[in-house]
């Protein structure tokens, strides 16, 4: 697959995304700056598209970094407790401060996502049996433990409704003024690209990295910080989007290999294309209502994941 093909697909899908929805907007409406359609376009449709683009690229790259650093094809923010830890962080911030500000939520969620992922990497370091399936299973169990802690305290504090809202990844509520946090993932993604070579070297193991004079621990920490930034911004604005960081990097790895400098652009654009398709499907099948994007991603994503598990076990093991 060529990069320009993916980019063209992303552009076409972006146009479709801008012009579907409960209110019919045609390109001709946009000639009139003061029209109602133009306002809806700017307040709802454009922010939604930007959010999809940033979340799609961000989550896919976060998954790619995690797979490289953990040296396991099936580790991603959803299978390593990162997103569950971020949720726990938001809850703790709500319990700590009676009138929690957005900034406090962001900081807590970031800190928890970072620590949560670090703990998982420590667990990974300690277990001897590093089977390609076994490791993400441990990650999922670990995530569920964090998640049940969150549920327990949320139940005690009567915040269950709030946390179930973060559980659901959806672009329905994205309007101007409610998604701008996602822009923080842009510098994270750029940094990821600048560090691509270092991540690839670190992905070949600590001994290998040291042989080439790379400070392994430093690169590992940078990678986990970038993952935590991306995961936090996505969870706080869009919610949890499962599978994205898992399947997109794996598909790219299949046809391009694991040289991150080469694969990061592909991973980002394929992530955008995949998320746009899922969002458009969710908006079309029960038109004029919507199905949240995490449902469509989960249905399509789990199917692809299952195919990868059965067909790709041999490939991932290598």
């Amino acid at each position: 697959m060529r990069l320009w093909m993916l980019i063209i697909a992303a552009i076409i899908l972006s146009f479709i995304s801008l012009f579907i929805g409960a209110i019919d907007i045609k390109p001709s409406h946009l000639l009139d700056w003061d029209s109602r359609e133009m306002k809806i376009f700017l307040i709802s449709r454009v922010p939604r598209l930007i959010a999809i683009i940033l979340a799609g690229a961000g989550m896919s790259i976060a998954g790619l970094i995690m797979q490289s650093l953990s040296r396991n094809k099936f580790v991603s923010p959803t299978t390593a407790g990162t997103l569950d830890a971020a949720k726990l962080g938001i809850l703790i911030s709500m319990l700590f401060f009676t009138n929690v500000t957005y900034t406090q939520q962001v900081i807590f969620s970031f800190a928890f996502a970072l620590i949560g992922t670090l703990v998982f990497m420590q667990i990974l370091d300690r277990i001897k049996f590093k089977d390609v399936i076994f490791v993400p299973l441990i990650g999922i169990m670990y995530g569920n433990i964090l998640s049940s802690i969150t549920t327990f305290f949320a139940y005690e504090a009567d915040l269950l409704q709030n946390i179930s809202a973060w559980l659901m990844g959806s672009f329905t509520l994205i309007i101007a003024g409610r998604y701008e946090l996602l822009y923080l993932s842009v510098p994270a993604v750029i940094l990821a690209y600048l560090y691509a070579n270092k991540f690839t070297v670190a992905g070949m193991g600590e001994d290998f990295a040291k042989n080439l004079g790379l400070s392994y621990k430093f690169v590992l920490n940078i990678g986990l910080i970038l993952v935590a930034i991306i995961a936090t911004t996505v969870v706080l604005t869009v919610g949890v989007i499962p599978f994205l960081g898992l399947i997109v990097p794996n598909i790219v790895s299949l046809y391009m290999g694991d040289n991150l400098r080469k694969t990061i652009p592909h991973t980002a654009v394929l992530g955008i294309v995949f998320l746009l398709i899922c969002d458009i499907i969710g908006r079309v099948i029960v038109y004029p209502f919507e199905i949240p994007v995490n449902v469509t991603v989960a249905v399509i994503g789990s199917a692809i994941f299952l195919i990868m598990l059965f067909r790709g076990r041999a490939y991932a093991k290598k």
């Binding site: 691509a196 070949m204 040291k210 042989n211 080439l212 004079g213 290999g257 694991d258 400098r261 093991k317």
Partner: protein, 255 residues
């Protein structure tokens, strides 16, 4: 020159390497031999800074290796541990290019590309340079990793059991290449070897370890004789000369 002085490493209370002092001669192949658990790999890891010693020091050009800047050290000493488990999908060319990482940090200059080309040619991998590592056989993979080390262009090349999982033909091929690296390019090669006969036929110096200590250390001729071998392996090993090679016939030995 690399000089090892009083090096000791414990895992828990058990000393794995104990008070080892040796000099590694430049421009030669030195083999570390000895029974399982003798501390050969641990010693090699400490020399290459992958592992910190508890006491003692390793000197490269009279300076403690810990004081070297990591990228400068990576231009002088390279280490290849058993890499057959690596599950990264890179092409041979990409892998070899990473050998230039200490010099270019991933942005290859024309000079780097030249080193990469030469290393690939040297290891006879030109016609498969765009193949992914996971499509290669064990021998081809090992050659690809050695090509990377050649591109790294270090004076010292340390290899931890490079013949593991290789069949006879590929083992001989790899050892011949190492010999050429020393004879043609003036490199210094240090290898951990399991097979005493490969050590005998291809190395200039042998360091024999047992229970973490050096039992014998000298030229190949000094080590490959029945008296020295009995001390190292607790076995009676007759040595026969064949085409100028000393071969240890240990297969039916009586201890």
């Amino acid at each position: 020159m690399i000089e090892i002085k009083g090096l000791t490493k414990r895992f828990g209370n058990k000393p794995v390497v104990e008070d080892v002092s040796i000099k590694i001669q430049s421009g030669a192949i030195t083999s570390f031999i000895g029974p399982n658990g003798a501390g050969k790999s641990t010693l090699l890891s400490m020399v290459s800074r992958l592992l910190d010693a508890d006491t003692g020091e390793v000197l490269l050009d009279k300076n403690n290796v810990k004081q070297w800047k990591s990228d400068e050290f990576a231009k002088r000493v390279s280490i290849l541990k058993q890499a057959n488990f690596l599950n990264v999908r890179l092409t041979i060319r990409e892998l070899v290019s990473f050998g230039r990482y200490p010099y270019s940090k991933g942005r290859l200059t024309a000079e780097d590309e030249q080193f990469v080309d030469q290393a690939i040619e040297y290891m006879n991998l030109k016609d498969m340079e765009d193949k992914f590592l996971d499509e290669l056989s064990g021998g081809q993979k090992q050659r690809a990793f050695i090509a990377m080390v050649i591109a790294q262009d270090t004076e010292f090349i340390l290899l931890d059991e490079p013949l593991n999982n290789l069949d006879m033909k590929h083992s001989v091929q790899i050892m011949k290449i190492l010999r050429k690296l020393v004879d043609d390019l003036g490199k210094t090669v240090v290898i951990v070897l399991h097979d005493i006969n490969f050590a005998s036929v291809y190395s200039d110096y042998i360091v024999a370890l047992k229970n973490g200590k050096v039992v014998k250390d000298g030229t190949t001729n000094e080590i490959i004789n029945s008296d020295a071998l009995r001390e190292i392996y607790d076995m009676n090993i007759p040595v026969q000369e064949q085409n100028g090679c000393r071969i240890c016939v240990y297969f039916n030995s009586h201890s």
